[in-house]
């Protein structure tokens, strides 16, 4: 090479310029005003048809295949919700609303009787029956699904007439309807599943608005309109194409150049970055999802076996700073019940809320621990690195040294959930917060959750408090019971809740008129995709 210096300099310039994707700054078309409870409302006057080109940062979990009952991450629920539907769904402000069930009755606190819609057909053309619903729920309860624990103390699931299903519980369970509203509780074509003509792990046949045309794991999805969909006039779109684009800059560039008409964004500053970009709108959903820190107490030489060490870490955490800095003021400090849900506990009243770094130092001294240092494993998707770096700064104030280990999501999941006992020191992730404050608290019981049994020890007292809180009907009594759960989880500190996680969604206002709720609890930005309308065939 005659001029290696020139090549190197050009490479350096290329590195810089690849990172830069300036957008056009033409005026943006005004977005229609959203209804109360909605971040965006689709314009029903637009003609049906067209294609939605969506970009997301991660695909469905490859390890669990395409079986919705085994799906255990929100990214899977989001995509699968295009094909699968549940008896009930979640509306604005976390209200439970009918979906495949037309209505329901609760003749007693332990009995739910659902009246099914009689016009629902699967995408293979067969009419949905009560047997499909009963079979699906029994299959879920007999499976190794993580979601099985959320359904609560189900005693029996039986048919109640041709279009009815009766579910009986052993004890009252307040979050039951909210638990039924998630994709793992979807109705499967059980006749075909039983006779082997449909394997849900590899083929998706549901009652939802779209059917799968093509899927390349971690690359793309192609969905086509389900022509047999039961809701009149829905879905408005003819097709949905999903591209998995892990790099945030790629998704932002896609919105700027029109390659994407909708994109989920991780960076909390996305709205600012896209400010002035022609015809790009950015909306933020307030979610009940929250970040939490996992401290591995099951490793052979765990540094966190002494609860005082865990409490010191919890005490040194400045949740306000994490919310303000790492998530750009768009998150809120939270306890084990998600901030923003009715009945959730007040994080300012938790035992760890007072003390700060000095209190943490005293606890560490009492535990006889000096120069505590550990490795925090995180995935590289924003804003997790930002949260981790603020945690690092918080703990440094208490004399605790944190080394951050950043990796891609698949490697991270393998390290955190792949082995029992797990070998990591600490890890950062987020939980979907769902629509009932008692649901996510159930993950503090590793015997129910399962996925965290490799790094978390079961606490009998905490488990009893969680179960007790979920038997109390909503109201002051439940708020009090949930506060006890929060306080106990706070002192247990094997999983430390931090701040809520905002969901940012960008869309092209010249290509799309989407419907998006202002709030979301299941990590599903595509919940209203059947209402979304395209403005032009791109």
């Amino acid at each position: 090479m005659r001029h290696p210096w020139l090549a190197c300099s050009l490479t350096a310039l290329a590195v810089i310029t690849t990172a830069c994707a300036p957008g056009a700054t033409a005026p943006t078309a005004a977005a229609p005003e959203a209804e109360p409870g909605y971040a965006a409302s689709a314009d029903g006057a637009l003609p049906a048809g067209g294609t939605l080109n969506l970009q997301v940062h991660v695909d469905t979990g490859a390890a669990s295949g395409l079986d919705p009952q085994l799906a255990d991450v929100a990214s899977s629920w989001q995509v699968m919700s295009l094909v699968y539907e549940t008896l009930v769904t979640v509306g604005p402000d976390f209200t439970v609303q009918p979906l495949l069930a037309e209505s329901w009755e609760t003749p007693s606190p332990t009995t739910y009787v659902f009246k099914l819609r009689d016009d629902v057909v699967f995408s293979n053309g067969r009419r949905m029956t009560a047997d499909d619903v009963v079979g699906s729920l029994k299959r879920l309860l007999d499976s190794k699904s993580v979601w099985r624990g959320q359904l609560g103390p189900v005693k029996s699931v039986t048919k109640s007439g041709e279009h009815g299903v009766k579910i009986t519980l052993d004890t009252p369970y307040t979050p039951f309807l909210s638990a039924l509203a998630n994709v793992p509780a979807a109705v499967l074509p059980m006749k075909e599943v039983r006779d082997g003509s449909v394997d849900p792990a590899v083929k998706m046949v549901g009652t939802g608005p779209f059917t799968v045309e093509d899927h390349r794991q971690d690359v793309s999805w192609s969905f086509r309109k389900n022509a047999k969909y039961w809701a009149p006039g829905k879905p408005a779109l003819d097709a949905v194409n999903i591209t998995v684009a892990p790099e945030e800059t790629a998704r932002i560039a896609g919105l700027q150049n029109g390659g994407a008409s909708l994109a989920t964004l991780g960076n909390v500053d996305s709205a600012g970055m896209l400010a002035g970009a022609a015809n790009v709108e950015v909306v933020t959903q307030a979610t009940t999802d929250f970040y939490y820190l996992m401290l591995n107490t099951k490793a052979a030489s765990s540094k966190f076996a002494d609860p005082r060490v865990r409490q010191a870490i919890n005490m040194a955490m400045d949740r306000g700073q994490i919310a303000d800095v790492a998530v750009g003021g768009q998150g809120k400090p939270t306890g084990a019940t998600p901030a923003g849900l009715p009945g959730a506990c007040d994080p300012a009243r938790l035992p760890s809320a007072t003390g700060g770094p000095e209190g943490a130092k005293k606890l560490l001294a009492a535990a006889g621990v000096r120069d505590l240092s550990f490795t925090l494993s995180i995935y590289s998707t924003e804003p997790a690195p930002a949260v981790a770096q603020v945690i690092q700064q918080n703990l440094q104030q208490a004399g605790i040294k944190v080394n951050i280990e950043q990796m891609d999501e698949a490697s991270w999941a393998g390290k955190v959930y792949g082995k029992a006992p797990a070998t990591f020191d600490a890890a950062l992730s987020w939980f979907a917060g769902y629509a009932d404050p008692g649901m996510v608290a159930k993950w503090w019981n590793p015997d129910v959750a399962g996925f965290n049994s490799g790094f978390m020890k079961s606490d009998k007292e905490l488990n009893e408090l969680i179960d007790a809180a979920n038997t109390v009907p909503s109201g002051a009594g439940r708020t009090e019971a949930l506060a006890k759960v929060c306080a106990k989880a706070d002192t247990d500190a094997q999983m430390i809740p931090l701040v809520t996680r905002p969901a940012t969604i960008g869309y092209r206002s010249d290509a799309l008129s989407p419907s998006l709720y202002a709030t979301e609890g299941y990590g599903n930005a595509l919940r209203l995709i059947a209402d979304t309308r395209a403005k032009a065939v791109r």
Binding site: P4, W5, L6, C8, S9, T11, A12, L13, V15, I16, T18, A19, C20, A21, P22, G23, E248, T249, I252, N267, D269, G272, M273, L274, A275, G276, A277, Q321, V325, A326, G328, S380, E382, P385, A386, A388, Q389, V390, Q392, Q393, N403, I404, E405, Q406, M407, D408, S411
Partner: protein
């Protein structure tokens, strides 16, 4: 007679020394703790924060200083390792020839067949992201060319009369290589080292840009450019500082390397490689 460095090369050397001094500032926290959250998020450059603040409210000046230091230290360490490995294998292969020469050349060609950044990503995937992966990547990327050049120079030196005289006088292999061959290929190693240094900085930048290099919160030029790329429109100061430094560093190293080559390897004595 060796020519003195020309003005351009001296300028390159001056830039490099200035960058080293700039980086040394971070070791004594001259501009503050590069990891400390000190101000509002994404504040533009001003009297309080000369290069602005990043998305976590950290001052960019100490972070760029730390970034330059990290990148230069990583690249220099890697180039020293490359020089040691390439000198050992290149000289041995060039002097002994035969089977050893063929094995070394074929191994080097295998490494050479990978594009630099692909090889670096492969190494990072095997070793896991971090400084060690960055170091190993730079070494593997820079070894092939340097080994080939050192080998070619060693072939020429091995045929010189003073080497033949040393052999006839009964000198042992380590002495012949260490006293007679190595000093005469040192110029090639030094010149090629400057090129490898610039390649190393590019590889570190690329690897960290992809998230496989230096881990947060430690700054390197690649990390800062990766972070700044996301904020090009909203906060351009995040990428202008580290980007400019990266370009200046690579240009300075290459200009200096060119001058060094002219001084140590006058055109008429260069081997044909």
């Amino acid at each position: 007679m060796r020519r003195p460095l020309d003005l351009l090369s001296k300028g390159g050397l001056g830039c490099l020394l200035a960058l080293v001094a700039f980086a040394l500032g971070s070791t004594v926290d001259l501009a503050g703790d590069p990891d400390a959250i000190v101000g509002p998020r994404l504040a533009p450059p001003g009297p309080e924060w000369w290069m602005g603040t990043d998305n976590l409210g950290r001052s960019m000046l100490p972070r760029v200083m730390e970034g330059v230091g990290t990148t230069l230290l990583l690249s220099c360490t890697a180039v020293l390792l490359t020089a040691a490995v390439s000198a050992a294998f290149g000289i041995l292969a060039g002097y002994r020839g035969g089977y050893l020469n063929e094995v070394v050349l074929r191994l080097v060609e295998v490494l050479y067949s990978f594009p630099a950044i692909v090889l670096a990503v492969l190494v990072a995937a095997v070793l896991g992201p971090g400084q060690f992966a960055a170091l190993a990547s730079i070494v593997l990327v820079t070894i092939p060319l340097m080994t080939r050049l050192v080998r070619a120079a060693a072939v020429g030196v091995s045929q010189r009369d003073y080497v033949t005289a040393a052999v006839i006088s009964g000198a042992r292999l380590p002495r012949i290589l260490g006293r007679h061959v190595l000093p005469n290929v040192a110029g090639t190693i030094a010149v090629q080292g400057t090129y490898a240094l610039s390649v190393g900085i590019s590889v570190e930048g690329g690897l960290s840009f992809l998230g496989f290099g230096v881990q947060p919160p430690q700054a390197s030029l690649g990390v800062l450019i990766r972070q700044g790329g996301s904020y090009m429109i909203a906060a351009p100061w995040l990428i202008i500082g580290p980007g400019t430094v990266l370009v200046v560093a690579i240009l300075a190293i290459n200009v200096f390397g060119d001058g060094l080559r002219d001084r140590l390897e006058p055109r008429e004595t260069r081997s044909l490689t």
